[in-house]
Amino acid sequence: MANVEYRSVGKNFGTVRVLNELSLDIGEGEFVVLLGSSGCGKSTLLRMTAGLETISSGEIAIDGKVVNGVHPRDRNIAMVFQNYALYPTMKVRENIAFSLEVAGKSRDEVNAKVEEAARVLSLTDYLDRKPSELSGGQRQRVAMGRAMVRDAKVFLFDEPLSNLDAKLRAHMRVEIRQLHDRLKATTIYVTHDQIEAMTMADKIVLMQGGGIVQVGTPDDLYDRPATRYVAEFIGSPQINCQEGEIVSDGADVHFKNSEVSLPLPAGYAAHGGTKVTCGIRPNDVQLSEEGAIVGRLKIAEKTGADKQMHLDVNGSEFVAVTPRSTEGVPGDDMRFAVDPGKVHIFDQSSGHRITTTLSGA
């Protein structure tokens, strides 16, 4: 177990700057997810941690020791690759045992560890097969097994579930998280899937364009997104965003545009006249007869557990997540309300969250 520190880390590929002065602390035993869309630099950061990419500027320290010039084999890091990177000519058993044999462990110890890993990952029946004779999910588990038997300081995962089908992915999410809870090893996990990030992470690091946008717990990112980008990236279905202005006339503060007018907490009064984006999570759109806003139902999507109602309010769309029992056919007019305390307000020009002076929300 170890902590990992990134100190103003930068990376260039030729003249292209892919990571920009990035600083981050990862504590001992933490499960940190690097989240972002493709090309944001998250995988590059992971590979730099492992030593598979050079560090153009800044420092990476593991356990307080700067590792910039340390060879990957001397960093004591285990990694699960996106395409698994299994040794194609070795059987599953040899794949998992490789690092132990290299470390000169006794045959008994190697066998015991391999058998144990195979048991945990349900690979016992496949130990004598070659990777080419396995399915995607089985290969993924072999890659996990290879990391598991290591007594590594840090575990790195590079989108390990992206090639699996939805059911297996959900299963492996739980497996990986349980594995972490058992080993208590410092883990850095790269993904572009916000659900993976939300379900597994102690701490999410949301990246964009080679930099960090927000670091926090899954709840932090969901409840208090630092920018409009974060708000839109986290949460499914995606947050409803409306462009408009804060209008303050004495006691009443409203978000207004040509289509809607929503009451806001009084704390926003100080920002009267500011051009803003107003974000409302679909779960915070409350359908009710007393609601002040009227929308015409365009389509009701059934997801099984609930319904996603797509409402047209004077030409702009709102999505509301409602219980499955909610009635409504396309063309119906439905009324809804929004709790002012659950509205997210972002500055239109900078994209940054505007906090109220009173509540600090």
């Binding site: 492992a50 030593g51 598979l52 060879h71 990957p72 084999r73 001397d74 960093r75 004591n76 890091i77 285990a78 990694m79 690759f81 395409n83 698994y84 990177a85 299994l86 040794y87 194609p88 000519t89 070795m90 490789f98 690092s99 290299v102 470390a103 290879r146 290591r150």
Partner: protein, 291 residues
């Protein structure tokens, strides 16, 4: 698609040109060779006479043939081993994307464009006892003295010939190995690095198994070539001193074209073919090469 004789589902007509060439230039000469091995040419009467299995009996009892086979196998084993090991070592060194390595890889083709007979002539000069560069260097190093010229000493002549083969054909191995190395996936190497493997372990446990088929094909091609090597000994030693560099191919040539024993020469060449066929197929079976 045309219907009729030339349609695609009747392949025979399309195979005809190739089949005709194979029959005319490969099958016929082979059958004639077999027929010839049961005959012998009589110089006085100037005709081929049926001798039955006499040529084959002579072959089994021919001490010179067995000596030539031994020399050929020794030459084959040493040159092939050196070419594989040296070729792999150089290929590993050149498997890099740094500036200049592409140029170095191109340079490797240079030895391959030299005709083998010319390469033999070059090394005849290089190993010359009076003014050869190699002789000079070995003398300075104290490894050789003037009384034992490389190519004129029975114990060293074969090594002098092997040197040309190794010089000329190691780059061929390098090129084939490089093509294999550069097509290997990078991921297992990254995984092995993180697993803590040393460069040697990575080579032994990952590179070698992945390269197995490439190595097998290179060994097969070069092995057959080396087994029927003729140019170098013909140009450099003519089999001498004594019979110390008489390979099987040179001996067959001598019997056929110097002694005009068409029948025995044909028997020797068939015997060579048989050995190559057996060894090559054994190798294909052992190395599990699939085409």
């Amino acid at each position: 698609m045309r219907v009729g004789v030339l349609s695609w589902d009747r392949p025979w007509i399309w195979l005809l040109p190739l089949t005709a060439m194979l029959v005319a230039f490969t099958i016929m000469p082979l059958l004639y060779n077999i027929w010839l091995s049961f005959h012998e040419y009589h110089t006085f009467s100037r005709e081929l006479r049926w001798v039955g299995g006499a040529n084959w009996a002579q072959l089994v009892a021919d001490a010179r043939m067995w000596e030539a086979l031994g020399i050929t196998l020794f030459y084959f084993a040493v040159t092939l081993t050196v070419q594989v090991i040296l070729g792999m070592a150089i290929a590993l060194l050149l498997d890099d994307d740094e500036i200049g390595f592409g140029f170095l890889r191109t340079l490797l083709t240079l030895t391959l464009v030299v005709p083998p007979a010319i390469a033999g002539m070059m090394f005849l000069l290089i190993e010359d006892p009076e003014f050869g560069v190699l002789t000079y260097v070995l003398e300075q190093l104290g490894l050789l003295d003037k009384t034992t010229p490389i190519l004129a000493t029975a114990s060293t002549a074969i090594w002098g010939v092997m040197l040309v083969d190794i010089w000329q054909w190691t780059p061929f191995m390098v090129l084939i190995f490089l093509a294999g190395l550069r097509s290997l996936p990078p991921e297992p190497y990254e995984a092995a690095m993180l697993d803590g493997a040393s460069a040697f372990t990575v080579f032994r446990r990952i590179t070698l198994p992945l390269m197995q088929k490439v190595i097998a094909v290179a060994v097969l091609i070069r092995g057959i070539d080396i087994f029927r090597m003729f140019d170098y000994v013909f140009v450099m030693t003519s089999g001498g001193p004594g019979t110390s560099t008489y390979t099987l191919s040179l001996y067959s040539w001598q019997q056929t074209f110097s002694f005009i024993k068409w029948g025995y020469g044909a028997t020797l060449s068939l015997f060579t073919l048989l050995i190559i066929l057996i060894v090559a197929n054994l190798f294909i079976w052992v190395a599990k090469v699939r085409w």
